[in-house]
Symmetry: C2
Subunit: 332 residues, 2 copies
C-alpha cells in the first residue's frame, strides 16, 4: 500500500517532534519541510527537501503530499496559515487557544469544505486526547464533571506559555515556569464532590528567573505576581537563579496531566474515571498525536469527507495503523 | 426533540443498571423490559411494560422502540439472541468473550446489515472503554504495548466469571472470587520495559468459599487450584468461610482496572499513558456505558448506517448528550 505522504509546516520543537515520530509510523513518510525561512532550516536539517511555505504551487507539485501537519503557533501562525492551506491540501494542527476553538473551527470548516479537503484541528494532548477523555467521561458518568490537572509530578510541568510571559518582563533575561497541581483538590474531585474551583485552587506556579545585570529583583517579582491571567490568580513561587542553574536544571519540556471525573452510577454506587499521561517531552507528545491524526485525515479524505473535524468526530480505529481484523482480534 | 425509546432485554444486574442509568440520561426513555419470564420480572418490577422477549412483533408494535439494549450473558444468550434481534431492531450489547468477538461481530454484521439496522457489540468497560484506550495508546505511542490490570485496590475486583466457576465445584455452596493486580508488574510496565508476562505474573486470585455440610475441604481446594484457565495459572489464595461471613463481607460487585502503556516519543523521551477506573458496581458501570452507546446507535441509524460496529468505529461525540457547539466550546 502506498505510504501517506506528509509535509511538515514549521521546524520548531513540535515540527522536529513530528519528523521523529513519522519514523515510528511505517505507513507514513515525511516528504518535505515547509518554512518561512528555508535557508535557516537547511543549516541544521537536510534529510528531505525544505521549501518556502508561501510557494504553495511549487511544493504541492514537487512533493505531492497527502497531508500537511501544521506545527506553527496558535497566536500568530495558525489563524492565517490554517485557512489558507486548508484550501489547497488536507491539514492537521494543534491550535490550542481553547477560548477561540469554535471560531477557528468555523474558519477551517469553510476553507476545507469549499475546496473538498479534510482539516483536523486542535489536536495534541490538550486540546486533543484530554478533550476526548472529558467527553467520554461525561457521557459514561452523566452529571459528573471532568477536571483537568497538570504538573502532578514532583518537579511539575513546564509551561511554554508562562515561560514566554516571564521573558517579556523588562529585566528578565531568561526564565522557566513549572505548573504544579494542588493534590488536595485532586482528592476532592476523587471523592465525588464535583467541587467548584477557582484556577488558583487547582494549580500553583513556580518560576525560575534569570535577571539582566542591574535589574530590580523586587520590581520583577511584583510584576510577575500581579500579571493578570498568567500569575495573579495563583499562588506563585519565584526563584531567582543564574543562567548556569537554569541551563543545568531546567532543560527539556517535561509535562504531565490528569483528567479525572467522579460521580455515581444508577443506584448510587461510586464511580471514578482517570486519564493520566506523563511526557518526557511535551512537544514530542503533541507531535505523536498529530501524526496519528494525519493517518485519520488521510482515511477521512479517502472516504470523500471534507470540512473541519476534531478528535471528537473521529472513530478511534482511524488513528491506528492496524487493520480492522487485527483490532477486533487483538485490541477489543 | 423526541426521546430515544429503549427496550431493555434482560432483567439481571446489568439490565437493572441500564434502567437506573436511563433515568440520568434525559434524552432517552425506557419503554419496556423484555424477558423470557415476564411474570417473574413483574413480581419485582412494574414501572413500565414487561413483555415476552420471543413475541418480537408484539413488543415492536406496542412499544415502538428505537434501540434494544441486550443485557443477556455472552455464553448462552447473546450468540442466539443478538443475531435474531439485530434483524428486527437496532441493538447494543456487552458480549465479552474476548476470543470470540471477531466471530460474533461477523454474525451481527450480517444480521444487522441485511435488515438495515445498527448493532454496536461488545461494549462496557472491558471490552469497551478499555479496548478504545488500548487502541489510542498504541496509536499515540507506536511500539508500546497497552497492558490491562484489574483489582488494584486493597480488596481487589470481584470477578463474576470466576465466582461462577467456583460455584460449579461439587461441595461448594457459595463463593466469591476477587482478582488482585500484581503491583510489581504494573511498575515494570510503567518503567517502559514492555515486558512479556504470563497471566500469573499480572494477577493473583483470592477465593472466599462456603462449603456444603460434610464437603471435603482439601479436595475442594485441590480442585480450585488445578482448575485450567481459571485458577491453575495463578497464585490462588483460598479462604473457607461461613455463609454469614460471605453475606456480610462480600456483598456488591466492586471492580476496577488500569490500562497502561509506556514507551518513548521520537527522540527517546519517556512517555506514559494510563487509564484508570474504579467502580462501586461493575454491572452498573457496564450499564452506563451501554446507555451512552444506545445514543450512538440511534445517531448512526439516523445517518442511514447499518451493520455491526464496536466502540472503535464510533466518533466520541456520538456518546454525548451535548450538542456539537457545546462540545467545541466547553469540552475541547
Amino acid at each position: 500500500m502506498a505510504k501517506i505522504r506528509v509535509v511538515v509546516a514549521g521546524y520548531g520543537n513540535v515540527g522536529r517532534g513530528v519528523l521523529a515520530a513519522l519514523k515510528n509510523n511505517p505507513d507514513m513518510v515525511a516528504v518535505g519541510v515547509l518554512s518561512r525561512n528555508p535557508d535557516r532550516v537547511r543549516k541544521s536539517f537536510n534529510e528531505i527537501p525544505v521549501m518556502q511555505i508561501a510557494d504553495v504551487d511549487t511544493w504541492l507539485d514537487a512533493l505531492k503530499p497527502d497531508v500537511a501537519i501544521l506545527c506553527g503557533g496558535s497566536k500568530d501562525d495558525l489563524p492565517i496559515q490554517g485557512p489558507a492551506l486548508a484550501q489547497r491540501i488536507n491539514t492537521v494542527d494543534s491550535f490550542d487557544n481553547h477560548s477561540r476553538i469554535s471560531e477557528y473551527f468555523a474558519a477551517m470548516d469553510v476553507a476545507a469544505g469549499k475546496s473538498g479537503h479534510v482539516s483536523v484541528i486542535s489536536t495534541g494532548w490538550d486540546p486533543g486526547i484530554f478533550s476526548m477523555e472529558r467527553v467520554v467521561a461525561n457521557a459514561f458518568l452523566p452529571g459528573s464533571r471532568a477536571y483537568g490537572f497538570y504538573g502532578l509530578g514532583e518537579s511539575g510541568g513546564l509551561s511554554m506559555g508562562h515561560s514566554d510571559a516571564l521573558r517579556t518582563i523588562p529585566g528578565v533575561k531568561d526564565a522557566r515556569q513549572y505548573t504544579h497541581a494542588v493534590s488536595a483538590s485532586i482528592e476532592k474531585v476523587r471523592s465525588g464532590e464535583n467541587p467548584e474551583f477557582t484556577p488558583g485552587d487547582m494549580h500553583t506556579r513556580e518560576c525560575f528567573v534569570v535577571l539582566e545585570d542591574g535589574a530590580d529583583q523586587n520590581a520583577v517579582a511584583e510584576t510577575i505576581r500581579t500579571m493578570p491571567g498568567y500569575f495573579a490568580p495563583y499562588k506563585t513561587e519565584i526563584h531567582f537563579v543564574t543562567q548556569e542553574f537554569l541551563d543545568q536544571n531546567c532543560a527539556g519540556f517535561p509535562h504531565d496531566g490528569l483528567v479525572v471525573a467522579a460521580g455515581n452510577t444508577g443506584n448510587n454506587h461510586s464511580a471514578r474515571i482517570e486519564y493520566r499521561c506523563i511526557w518526557g517531552s511535551n512537544p514530542e507528545a503533541t507531535a505523536n498525536v498529530l501524526v496519528a491524526h494525519a493517518r485519520a485525515v488521510s482515511r477521512l479524505a479517502d472516504e470523500g469527507k471534507c470540512g473541519a473535524f476534531t478528535i471528537l468526530d473521529i472513530p478511534p480505529a482511524y488513528f491506528s495503523m492496524h487493520s480492522k481484523e487485527e483490532l477486533l482480534k487483538k485490541f477489543m
